[in-house]
């Protein structure tokens, strides 16, 4: 969640308000920047001075596999979240307000429900004798239960579910700002439903898609609970690797290096989003 805090700081920074921001900046400095720097230091100082931790991390196929898993899962989760979240956001934006409030309340309530409870619920649903496999077998669609849990499939399903609100909310915000009269104008210009969507609605909701996608991708890269519970032991993700280094192996150097790689990727993505989507909106 560090990224969202940083976003807030950047957006509210205007001339003359720096004084008001000082407490927040100090908080971030002491509780975020300093610990990160300390971890960075440990990654180049332990067990001895040098870049050997990074060499080990980036040079080994085992660790590379973890990176590939992480990016792949985060990418698939992002795409699926947007594909599922877009129609939901669109419906929320156009449905009468009394209904949209109820649906929104359900979505937000699910966000407030304990993460562990929600993840365990998915374990129950996805396991070999779970509701999903049983239903599919009863319908005769499959003969053998599908392996839906303790692998990356389970991780992807569970994380998509958890990330959905983070694409739905910003997308709904953006779609609500689009004047329906613009879509009517497009229709009279000759654009059918598909053309209206592809040529007008989609380009106009791009800032929301970008914001939601970045949020989900970045959160997914560093996500721990769901991969730890729904994933298998063989297919680790980056956060699990960091936890393993620090907790089981007590190797702060390697743990720090892995965390730093994650941070650099995150900041780079954020910079790309700022550069391309904020400047496009400004003009």
């Amino acid at each position: 969640m560090a990224v969202t805090i940083a976003t807030g700081a950047v957006k509210t920074k205007r001339e003359g308000t720096l004084g008001y921001l000082l407490p927040a900046l100090l908080l971030i400095a002491f509780f975020f920047i300093v610990p990160v720097l300390m971890l960075l230091m440990r990654s180049v100082l332990e067990p001895e001075v040098g870049l050997q931790n990074y060499e080990a991390l980036l040079g080994s196929t085992t660790y590379l596999r973890v990176f590939v898993n992480t990016f792949m899962v985060a990418g698939v989760v992002t795409i699926v979240s947007i594909v599922i979240g877009y129609p939901v956001a669109w419906l929320l934006a156009i449905m009468p307000e009394k209904w949209s409030r109820i649906v929104l309340a359900i979505i937000i309530l699910s966000m407030w429900t304990n993460l562990l409870a929600r993840t365990y619920a998915w374990m129950v649903l996805l396991q070999r004798t779970g509701v999903i496999n049983k239903t599919l077998m009863r319908l005769g669609l499959i003969d053998q239960p599908l392996a839906l849990v303790n692998n990356l499939v389970g991780v992807t399903i569970g994380m998509t579910y958890i990330m959905l609100p983070f694409v739905i909310l910003p997308l709904m915000g953006v779609i609500r700002t689009i004047d329906p009269a613009i879509l009517r104008a497009a229709a009279l210009c000759g654009a059918g439903k598909m053309q209206c969507f592809l040529r007008v609605l989609l380009p106009l909701s791009l800032p929301g898609i970008a914001a939601g996608a970045l949020m989900v991708f970045v959160m997914s890269l560093g996500y721990f609970v769901t991969p730890a519970l729904l994933g298998g032991t063989s297919n680790m993700m980056l956060a699990e690797l960091v936890a393993q280094f620090v907790q089981s192996l007590v190797n702060w150097g390697m743990g720090g290096a892995a965390a730093l790689v994650l941070l650099v990727v995150t900041l780079a993505l954020y910079a790309v989003q700022l550069r391309y989507f904020n400047s496009a909106r400004g003009k």
Binding site: A181, R184, A185, A186, A187, L188, A191, G192, R199, L204
Partner: protein
């Protein structure tokens, strides 16, 4: 009689128990500028939206060149429309906005470029192709919207209060442009407005809407000089209303008693032909004359206020019964010099210029 170009036949629209449009029918000739004039909620916009295909009527039909439009969805009606709000696509440049309908129609690139250029020239925005809509004024945006609506040569152009967001001076400027464009292109225009001055300035004919129905269709001068209903009389031009009683009637003209013994004859009477009864006498402020000497057939009034309005002067008066009557006199009228508040004067009028409504 030849087939009308555009025919609206008995259009009705209700939402549950609320009826927005009751029974609207009219024929519009090719190249005509027809304005729907009326207050908000009178059904004029709903009728236009039904023409655009955004709403389905509860009953009735719309025929364009003899073919019903109702089963055709909006995007296949090939109708142009300019909206009340700014509806340019914000992510596209001016040129791309105007090109949009042609791109959808998959016209060749060279033709698109040529027609976009011609359309922007028509609205006098040549050289603005690469501008983003957000960087343009409201008036410019509406002109681009007009270019976008005309670039595919639609047979009918709908305009839904396109100037209501603009200030008065700009509005008049663009009204002039719309007239010029109408003359240059010969497109049939259906224009919705609640502004009578705008309607009079632009239209060939005006349909006055009131409570979901058309009260009267006619040219501006027709509506002004011969209003069919009290509502039309009140909506087009300025008007005074005076309670009167129908004493006798003959061939569309009535003899009216105005109380206090004042009688007028030969006033055009509108409304159902019930013999005697209450009526409203409509008097235009600019058709009233003011006399300081007692006139037997005149209306005795007291001067309340005198307002200088530039080219004319408005004298506010009130009858003994407390009904306000405004009189508009040309600047320099002899009766006005030394006219004082509280003075008793007499108002007279040409009975043919007055109208009575039962």
């Amino acid at each position: 009689m030849t087939k009308p170009f555009l025919s609206i036949r008995g259009i009705r629209k209700s939402y549950g128990s609320v009826t927005a449009v009751k029974n609207v029918s009219m024929d519009i000739a090719k190249g005509e500028f027809m304005t729907f004039l009326g207050p908000s909620g009178s059904g004029k916009s709903t009728t236009l939206y039904i023409l655009a295909g955004f709403q389905d009527p509860t009953g009735g039909d719309i025929l364009l060149k003899g073919q019903s439009l109702l089963s055709t969805p909006s995007h296949k009606r090939n109708i142009g429309m300019v909206f009340q709000r700014y509806t340019l696509f914000p992510h596209l440049t001016v040129g791309e906005n105007v090109a949009f309908p042609l791109r959808i129609r998959r016209r060749p690139q060279a033709e698109i470029a040529e027609r976009v250029k011609a359309a922007l020239k028509l609205v006098r925005l040549e050289g603005f192709e690469d501008r983003k809509p957000a960087l343009m004024s409201g008036g410019q945006q509406q002109r681009v919207a007009l270019a976008r609506a005309l670039v595919y040569n639609p047979p009918v152009l709908l305009m839904d209060e396109p100037l209501s967001a603009l200030d008065k001076k700009l509005r008049e400027e663009i009204q002039f442009e719309i007239r010029r464009i109408h003359q240059e292109t010969g497109v049939t225009i259906l224009y919705v407005t609640h502004d009578q001055e705008e309607a009079l300035r632009l239209s060939d004919r005006i349909a006055v809407f009131s409570q979901g129905e058309i009260d009267q269709i006619g040219t501006g001068p027709e509506l002004y000089s011969n209003p069919a209903t009290r509502f039309v009389a009140g909506f087009i031009g300025d008007s005074n209303f005076l309670d009167a009683t129908v004493v006798a009637r003959e061939g569309g003209k009535a003899q009216l008693s105005l109380g206090n013994g004042a009688m007028v004859e030969g006033v055009p009477l509108h409304g159902p032909s019930s013999a005697n009864g209450k009526a409203s006498l409509m008097l235009r402020p600019e058709r009233l004359s003011l006399s300081r000497a007692s006139v037997p057939s005149g209306i005795a009034v007291t001067v309340r206020d005198i307002t200088f309005l530039g080219n004319n002067i408005e004298v506010s008066t009130a009858t003994a019964a407390g009904v306000d009557l405004a009189v508009r006199l040309p600047f320099g009228h002899e009766a006005i010099s030394s006219l004082a508040r509280g003075e008793e004067v007499w108002l007279t009028f040409d009975t043919a210029s007055a109208h009575a409504f039962v």
